[in-house]
Amino acid sequence: MSAKPTAAFFRAEGVLVSSGVMQAAMFMAGQRAGMRERALRFGQALASAPLFGLLGQNDRTLGNRVAHLCYRDMTEDRIVVLSEEYVDDVLTEKVLDSGIELMRRAKADGHRVVVLSEGIAEIMDRVREKWRYVDDLVCNHLEYRSGKATGKLLDPVIGGYEGGKWLAQYAAEHDIDLARSFAYAGHGPDLLLLSAVGHPCAVNPDFTLRKAAREADWPLMDYKA
């Protein structure tokens, strides 16, 4: 048996929390400085929601870029403070206890617990403080210029098909035995991530992933809390 360490990879959205990046974007847009800016950016976020839904099962990278456009010109100070508020007031209520239990068990079984999230670092870093089982967190980063967000995400954008490539690189860097590792995810573009490990599990999967999981005979989990 290999002596290499193993890991359990969790996609945050859908597995650990029931809320996604679109809700965060709308929350932020609705709290911009100034009423006009609030209305404008909230409208923008609202309009990009269907597009994100459409792209979500196919080109999630583009979907994420579109969703984060409404952060444009928002100061880092405001994003940091609102992220605290978002985590404390909104995200905490959306945490899926069953997912946290999976994480706890993975940790107890000796796996390195790695969380991948489409959320921005300002939010996810605060979430991580509350999730004590997490060894590593990989999430999206906003680009800033002169203290203001440009509305762009820095590469690599987490959430798309690049997840599989990223995972292979991470495993090589940390000498992880992927064949004995686990992965939990719920979106179509997570297929490559799930297929890269020996023990994939589709959690609350969307249509695309559910179909693929059934065909590949992967375990399926559905929970709402």
Partner: protein, 570 residues
């Protein structure tokens, strides 16, 4: 490999055994510096505290300051039951007044101090922006001149004179660390002596105008008319008393206006900066006889860590702006991108100690500016947003009712043009009209409940109008700094004297503004300054064992001082 740049100097070793005369010890900076030095350098020689008052009253005043101010908490805690001994070995309180010749000291004490003192740290001054010009002149200019006289007559003392960066006046751009002695900020040629004469002439003219019999007649007629309107028939004595009071009030107002007008004519925004600039110029003119350095802090704000994070007091520049950002008022008159040069009080006191050492070693420059804009720029629009976010954080948890928690917390203040339609003047006028309508404009035949409600609202609105008027005045005073001018104050001279001890390192570039503003400064002003704005009682400190200045002063032999160092260091 060789390294360039000056070698670090030990602040502790340089100040060990040195005798310092401190003026302005009851002020914000003076207190923090005193506590910081006593806490970190117990081997200091003797610190003479010049306080206004006479005899035992001065001693009691100092004891009250040390016992009630939170600044001295670290010292009380470090020395607990031995605080009285510790302080009495190092501190001597001297009755006096910087605005008086010979600093108002007893001649014997003065003679002793002229021999003993190594350094005078002149923190005394009137920091009101637009005070009665006579008071500003006595304290800010007269004080500097008298301290200069003391230095000139002393055996070997140097002077560290605390001024302000804003002596630069109405100007834009980079402000170097130099004293301009021959012209005002707007380029008017000037000599400090000549300007002092002009100012005395202005004061004399205002006094003469106020003492004019015609003025008294007008005031008397006005008082009699007003009393008659109220149905009172004023007797001669009552009218005379009222006229005397009115004349006194009028004189103060005219003196304040005369100072402001003169300052503005010459290019300074207010009497404070104008008189501080004059003081610097007068000292610079004596530079051949008075070894001195001008120390110019920018806007001194909450401490980062000494005496503890967030310590602040008084009505300082950012306080009212921060307060304003937490009210329903949204449009703070400020130009985006302008610096509000904020510097924590403990950074200022570290820098003061460094410059004091440079003076004692004979290595000091003429001017040291102590700010952040040159090394860690903080624009006013960022500060406004941070203030709004800080209030948001606070109100979400501690707001009074749903209105504050849900609405006011999200009612973000913004940096805006002073002419914005929702500026404070327009809001005040609108509120005034509402108040007047509710009081006098409602139809006579309305239900009594509605009348009562209207009276209540009218009273509340009137209070609001009064507060807005105060805010308006404050904003007007701060406009030169927040809107009209873009200044960056050079702050490099101090780098020539790196401090060996980390606790004295001056590094404004290390301040992370977001966490400073949200986690240190705002909780600080909320706890220590806002009660003052809201006329609420101040929180005072109460040590377990009250400090008493032992009489007569116990001079510490060097061995005792070293023992104390060991004790304190542990």
């Amino acid at each position: 490999m060789t390294t360039s740049g000056p070698l670090p100097v030990s602040i502790r070793e340089t100040l060990a055994g040195k005798h310092i005369l401190l003026t302005g010890a009851s002020g914000f900076v003076g207190k923090v510096w005193l506590a910081m030095v006593l806490h970190n350098i117990p081997q200091i020689g003797r610190i003479y505290i010049l306080l206004r008052g006479k005899g035992r009253g001065v001693k009691e005043r100092f004891e009250k300051i040390v016992n009630e101010s939170h600044v001295f908490k670290p010292l009380h805690e470090a020395h607990n039951g031995r605080m009285s001994e510790f302080m009495s070995q190092r501190v001597e309180v001297v009755a006096g007044d910087v605005s008086q010749p010979h600093l108002g000291m007893d001649p014997d004490i003065e003679a002793r101090l002229l021999q003993d003192v190594d350094l005078v740290l002149n923190c005394a001054g009137l920091v009101d922006f637009n005070p009665d010009v006579r008071e500003a002149l006595a304290s800010n200019v007269g004080g500097a001149v008298n301290v200069g006289d003391f230095i000139e007559n002393s055996d070997h003392a140097s002077l560290l004179h605390v001024s302000t960066c804003y002596v630069a006046g109405h100007r834009d751009g980079f402000v170097p660390e130099t004293i301009v002695t021959d012209q005002t900020p707007n380029g008017t040629p000037i000599t400090a002596e000549g300007e002092l004469r002009t100012l005395h002439e202005i004061i004399a003219a205002v006094e003469a105008e106020n003492d004019d019999p015609a003025t008294e007649t007008t005031l008397r007629e006005d008082v009699v008319r007003r009393l008659a309107e109220r149905g009172h028939e004023g007797d001669y004595k009552r009218v005379t008393d009222m006229v005397t009071r009115l004349k006194r009030k009028r004189l103060r107002e005219m003196m304040a206006k005369a100072g402001t007008d003169r300052a503005k004519v010459l290019g300074w925004p207010n009497t404070y900066t104008y008189t501080k600039a004059l003081a610097e110029q007068l000292l610079a003119a004596r530079a051949d006889r008075v070894r001195f350095a001008a120390f110019r802090p920018a806007i001194v704000e909450s401490a980062i860590d000494f005496p503890f994070a967030g310590w602040n007091e008084g009505f300082n520049t950012s306080g009212p702006l921060v307060y304003l950002a937490g009210t329903w008022f949204r449009h703070v008159p400020a130009a985006a991108g302008n610096a509000l040069d904020v510097i924590p009080v403990d950074s200022v006191c570290k820098a003061l100690s460094i410059v004091a050492c440079a003076l004692l070693r004979g290595e000091a420059s003429a001017v040291y500016q102590c700010g952040s804009s040159d090394r860690n720029f903080l624009p006013i629009d960022r500060l406004t947003e941070l203030s709004a976010l800080g209030h948001r954080r606070h109100l979400r948890e501690h707001g009074n009712g749903a209105l504050e928690r849900l609405i006011l917390s999200r009612w973000d203040a913004l940096a805006a043009d002073p002419e914005h339609v929702l500026n404070v003047t327009n809001i005040r006028k609108l509120m005034g009209q509402v108040s007047r309508y509710l009081k006098h404009g409602l139809p006579e035949k309305i239900p009594s409940e509605v009348r009562e409600w209207a009276d209540d609202v009218s009273k509340t609105t009137e209070t609001g109008v009064r507060k807005l008027r105060q805010i308006e005045e404050v904003l007007e005073l701060f406009m030169p700094f927040t809107y009209e001018h873009f200044c960056v104050f050079e702050c490099r001279a101090i780098d020539r004297h790196p401090a060996l001890e980390p606790e004295f390192r001056f590094a404004p570039e290390d301040i992370e503004w977001r966490s400073y503003w949200l986690d240190v400064h705002m909780p600080g002003v909320r706890r220590w300054c806002f009660p003052e704005y809201e006329d609420k009682p101040k929180e005072t400190y109460a040590p377990k064992t009250p400090f008493r200045l032992l009489d007569p002063p116990r001079l510490a032999p060097p061995e005792t001082a070293r023992e104390s160092l060991t004790f304190s260091g542990g």
